[in-house]
């Protein structure tokens, strides 16, 4: 359900949307300070990841803790291919494919699990991958960090604007994707599953297949976002690629903004990015504070900001107004 502005008609909203997109797109060209571009770039990357987590947890009932796996795999794929001379753009796509295949593979063991078992099963995956990449040094090359760290060959050819636009694309794509999915048959099926697995199954919905779709779509978009992130970093290493920080980002953004709402991840990500930069100085404390906020929000406002908004009087009267037209 979207927070609609009652009086405006569809075409007006559409124009507004296009204007916003154009504005965002030209920002690098009109000389916006570097720092702002970095904010927006990071926002878009985090947004894509948060949206996908919302798709998985909020809409499909899959509490996935293995998002870092897709980020790391896509990133490594792209970088390893770059080492053998394959262009980065192709590498991104390859990364997405690898993430999708991996999602398909691990769905075999992991989808047999429910709820908490599923969550911990998915927790094991990035941890295991971290070890794999610490041990496996496939492309003899410059090592960085504590293990198989690699530099991205060819990253230097990317201008700030180019990376920015890539991020913008995936960020916006994730929003449209969510909008589209929720209106499709997939979305309907997911809503049924979320309410009650067994009832949905008995109404003929192929629960497994729908969850798998979500999982794979989530893997692809998350992977692409991760790959783009590593273009901006120009280097990757296992401990950061498969780090639980990524999981924290998507959970925090989705929970603060509000699970099961489309605007939720957008608002949540804004706050997370803000926190990220505001707390950048206090390196050690950043995650502590994020953890405290997560616990606090869950206890006080479990449906996030959007949930609180929806329950508030102004919103409800607005909705009533809208329904009368």
């Amino acid at each position: 359900m979207r927070f609609t502005i009652p009086q405006l008609k569809l075409s007006v909203r559409l124009i507004l949307l296009i204007v916003i997109i154009i504005v965002l797109a030209v920002l690098p060209v009109i000389g916006l300070p570097q720092q702002w571009l970095i904010y927006i770039r990071l926002f878009c990357i985090y947004l894509a990841i948060a949206n996908m987590w919302n798709l998985l947890c909020g809409y499909s009932g899959l509490i996935s803790l293995c998002q870092p796996a897709f980020i790391g795999l896509a990133g490594y794929t792209m970088i390893m291919l770059a080492w053998v001379g394959i262009p980065i753009y192709v590498g991104i796509i390859a990364g997405a494919i690898v993430a999708a295949i991996f999602a398909l593979l691990i769905s075999v063991p992991v989808f047999r699990l429910r709820g908490i078992y599923f969550a911990i099963g998915t927790l094991v995956v990035p941890e295991a991958l971290k070890y794999v990449f610490l041990l496996w040094k496939p492309v003899g090359g410059k090592l960085q960090g504590g293990g198989a760290g690699y530099v991205l060959k060819g990253a230097g050819e990317f201008s700030t604007a180019e990376v920015y636009w890539l991020a913008l694309v995936i960020g916006l794509a994730s929003i449209f994707l969510m909008w589209f999915i929720l209106r499709s048959k997939l979305g309907l099926g997911l809503a049924a599953i979320r309410d009650n697995d067994t009832t949905a199954a008995s109404s003929g919905i192929n629960v497994f297949r729908l969850k798998l779709f979500s999982f794979i779509i989530g893997a692809i978009v998350t992977g692409i976002a991760g790959a783009i992130f590593y273009i901006s970093q120009a280097a990757i290493e296992p401990t950061s690629a498969f780090n639980i920080k990524w999981t924290m980002i998507c959970i925090l953004a989705a929970v603060i903004g509000g699970l099961r709402s489309q605007a939720g991840p957008i608002i949540g990500t804004l706050i997370v990015v803000f926190l990220h930069f505001a707390l950048a100085r206090y390196v050690g404390y950043s995650l502590i504070i994020q953890g405290i906020i997560l616990v606090g929000v869950m206890l006080v406002a479990p449906h996030g900001i959007m949930g609180a908004v929806r329950k508030s009087r102004p919103y409800r009267s607005l909705v009533q107004l809208a329904s009368r037209h």
Binding site: L123, G291, L299
Partner: protein, 300 residues
């Protein structure tokens, strides 16, 4: 003849190591048995115990030595006198103020809150004691003894013995005391338990506290056995989870066998595939067990 001898090292070591893993898993198993909650912060809470002990032993906190009498650290096992009540209190508080509310909110809430706690603990430890790898190394932690032609680290044997002691103590506690019976009752039938005059909230909080006290013991012996750092918790959570999955829930014997199973998986994995692959073998084992038989071998 030498072939057999070669396998006996990983065999013995695996069994003894399994003891440590049982010890780590006991707390997780108790909480899950009573409240049907997998505490994803469990590993981190164990490591927190390890760090408290480390702090008492080395006198270090935030990079400074706070113990006035320098070099007179408290022996890790003795420090349990302080660390166990401390962790009990933390566990009691977590259940009473955080988890109990989480249950009423949604299905995902306890998991997400535990996740938040996990990160808070990891990063607090990182702040207080730096990300460096540490170890608890009183003299006896470095001793080894001989069994026939094998040399076994003393600490592995201690791990095993302590695990047995704690297991038996827990079992007797659950069987004989009113609180233990109440914990049992509440885990079998919550509603009937409250009709018996059992204050479920209080029982849950005690159960969590006791689980954390056991985690404190596990933490100390973990620190004596392995090096540790603030992010070690996740590995041990996965191991503990693997133990209770293999062994099934509600069965002490099952937990024991689960521990043995994983200990042996690790040592044999290391034997055949090299030391660096040990953790991978463990994780793969857990995934396989999860996929094949989520309810465990002795599952109820």
């Amino acid at each position: 003849m030498t072939e057999l001898l070669d396998l006996s090292t990983p065999l013995l070591m695996g069994i003894l190591l399994g003891g440590l893993y049982v010890l780590i898993a006991l707390g997780l198993s108790l909480v899950f048995g009573v409240m049907k909650l997998i505490n994803v912060a469990h590993g981190d809470l164990v490591i927190l115990g390890t760090y408290f002990t480390f702090s008492l032993m080395s006198g270090e906190l935030l990079g400074h030595k706070y113990l006035v009498i320098s070099n007179l650290g408290i022996d890790p096992i003795l420090s349990l006198v302080i660390v166990m009540p401390l962790l009990f209190a933390i566990g009691y508080a977590i259940q009473k103020f955080l988890m109990s509310r989480a249950f009423g909110i949604s299905m995902e809430a306890p998991l997400i809150i535990a996740f938040g706690i996990s990160l808070i603990i990891q990063n607090t430890c990182q702040r207080l004691w730096t990300p460096l790898s540490r170890g608890l190394t009183p003299p006896y932690a470095l001793e080894s003894f001989s069994v026939g032609a094998l040399r076994v680290p003393l600490i592995y044997l201690l791990d095993f013995i302590v695990a047995l002691i704690v297991m038996l103590a827990l079992r007797e506690f659950l069987r004989r005391t009113y609180l233990g019976k109440a914990i049992n009752a509440a885990s079998q039938d919550k509603r009937a338990a409250s009709l018996m005059g059992i204050n479920n909230n209080r029982v849950y909080a005690f159960a969590f506290g006791i689980a954390m006290a056991i985690a404190a013991i596990a933490g100390v012996f973990l620190g004596l056995t392995f090096p540790f750092n603030p992010t070690s918790g996740v590995s041990f959570l996965i191991i503990a989870f693997g133990v209770i999955i293999v062994g099934g829930l509600g069965s002490m014997l099952g937990t024991f066998i689960g521990g043995m199973f994983l200990g042996l998986a690790q040592t044999f994995g290391g034997y055949f595939l090299g030391a660096t692959a040990q953790m991978l073998v463990l994780y793969a084992t857990v995934l396989v067990v999860l996929a094949v038989r989520p309810q465990g071998i002795f599952g109820r």
